[in-house]
Amino acid sequence: MRGNQFSKSSASGFVHPLSSEITPQMAYTQRRNWLKHMAAGVAGVTMAAWAAREALAQTGAEAVVRTGKLTSLTGAVSRVSGANTMEKITTYVDASNYNNFYEFGTDKSDPAKYAHTLHTKPWSVEIEGAVKKPGRMDLEDLLKLSPMEERIYRLRCVEGWSMVIPWVGYSLAELIKRVEPLGNAKYVEFITQADPKTMPGVRSRVLDWPYVEGLRMDEAMHPLTLLSFGMYGEVLPNQNGAPVRLVVPWKYGFKSAKSLVKIRFVEKQPINSWGRSAPQEYGFYSNVNPNVDHPRWSQASERRIGEDGLFAKKRKTLMFNGYEAQVGQLYAGMDLKKLY
């Protein structure tokens, strides 16, 4: 566990060292190998040329791998338990070209093709409902609200594939504490951008727009629940939910709402978009659970994108996507077969 290296905290006056100094050797060796892989031709020619350069530059032990295309956004290694899996990181090419973001089309290559039209500046997030301090928060203020952390999470899609992604952001709890929820705030509802002018998919009726997701208050307050602004050391590319999104690593990917515009604190359990469209297939909780099958496919195993070979057996899916130690107690006593 990387977090164990740190005894001091920023609260006790500890100044964060350069991120390069705190990245464990294994992590950056791994990343450099990844770069070399890319240079060897896994990625496109331009990417490979960049990767080769970057791999050379990495001899000076830089912490975060960047594409160089987007604004840099780095974070210190997170000290939250479970926030730094040592698994092999999915390539940036895969993570930014294989996306479900129906606002830009139903094909997984659509978001990368069409999301360039999304305007992320200016951007603000409306905080409303049962809180002491509602109001509009500009992206600039959100970025400054709490120190950025890098968190390497597994991402498990309900469709049976997974990735490992280095996100940049901070615990959603930091924001929630700041706006001071009232006693009747039992759930948090996340409303995302739905602009038919810049999001071609919103013109189709695949789902009711805007896309809405929700969490129970204790889930939203869990330190692993991330408000993310970046990945791979840069701001989020549009197709991954720029400029600000949710990442809930122990739930199926669709729970992690992208391009947030509103966060609402409510008393009743919100109805999330997929739950509304097919309640018998998508539950409110949607915790990763190998024992509860989706009616259309089994959830017992998954294919790790870019790593598990074409003919390799799929890997076993872990309870709560491998975060059971951290989040299992949130669901103690609940029948997860019924409340899926």
């Binding site: 139903t106 189709s204 097919a278 009616p295 003919f311």
Partner: protein
């Protein structure tokens, strides 16, 4: 018009036509094979292969079923010469589709596959379509027609209409999970037109008209 039609007819019976069409039919397979070997099928090659082989099965099924309506309405009897090849390509791609599913998705875990077929309606539809197509593929040569007799052979091969319905249901049910019906609608419309054309020409339609008093 007459010239265009007669040159199309002679093109259809040109001696190179069959082998050219054969090569064209193999091109999707060649592309998928090359793509899989060169890691050019995107982030999830297994999913790409399963979907692409399914798409090509549907396309060849549409082509096969389009032969008779096109032959009759456009007056192109030569089209019939190529129908068997389209049918065989349909079977070729459905075998690849099933192989990709059982290998890449299920890792040849036969118990899991059996459970999947029993549990999931869309898999059941697809699997039934495959099972029904098998005797048709097995009797797609001249001697089989002679063995069975033309009448019985034809009756057997009418099972392809059921296959068409099952294939569309399979696709529909698969996409229903994500409410994504645009492509399903395209294939369903094509199949509907091709099957409806047959229905209106058949004795069933005449029978319906007679009993309902529209014609005598």
């Amino acid at each position: 018009m007459l010239d265009a039609s007669s040159s199309l007819r002679s093109a259809l019976s040109h001696r190179w036509t069959k082998s050219s069409l054969y090569l064209v039919g193999l091109m999707p397979f060649a592309w998928l094979f090359w793509g899989a070997a060169n890691n050019a099928l995107g982030a999830n090659p297994a999913e790409y292969l399963i979907r692409a082989t399914g798409d090509w099965t549907l396309r060849f099924l549409c082509l096969t079923l389009a032969v008779t309506p096109l032959r009759v309405t456009l007056g192109l009897p030569e089209l019939l010469k190529h129908r068997r090849m389209f049918g065989r390509f349909t079977y070729f791609y459905v075998v690849l589709h099933l192989l990709c599913y059982s290998w890449l998705d299920m890792g040849f875990e036969w118990a899991d596959i059996a459970r999947d077929i029993a549990k999931r309606p869309f898999i059941l539809m697809g699997f039934s379509a495959f099972v029904l197509l098998t005797p048709l593929a097995a009797t797609s040569f001249n001697r089989a027609v002679r063995w069975l007799g033309a009448k019985r052979w034809q009756r057997l091969h009418r099972a392809v209409y059921i296959v068409a319905v099952l294939a569309v249901l399979h696709f529909f049910w698969m996409r229903a999970g994500k409410n994504n019906f645009a492509e399903v609608f395209v294939y369903a419309s094509i199949m509907f037109v091709l099957l409806a054309w047959r229905f209106f020409r058949s004795s069933l339609w005449g029978y319906f008209l007679r009993v309902s008093g529209f014609t005598r």
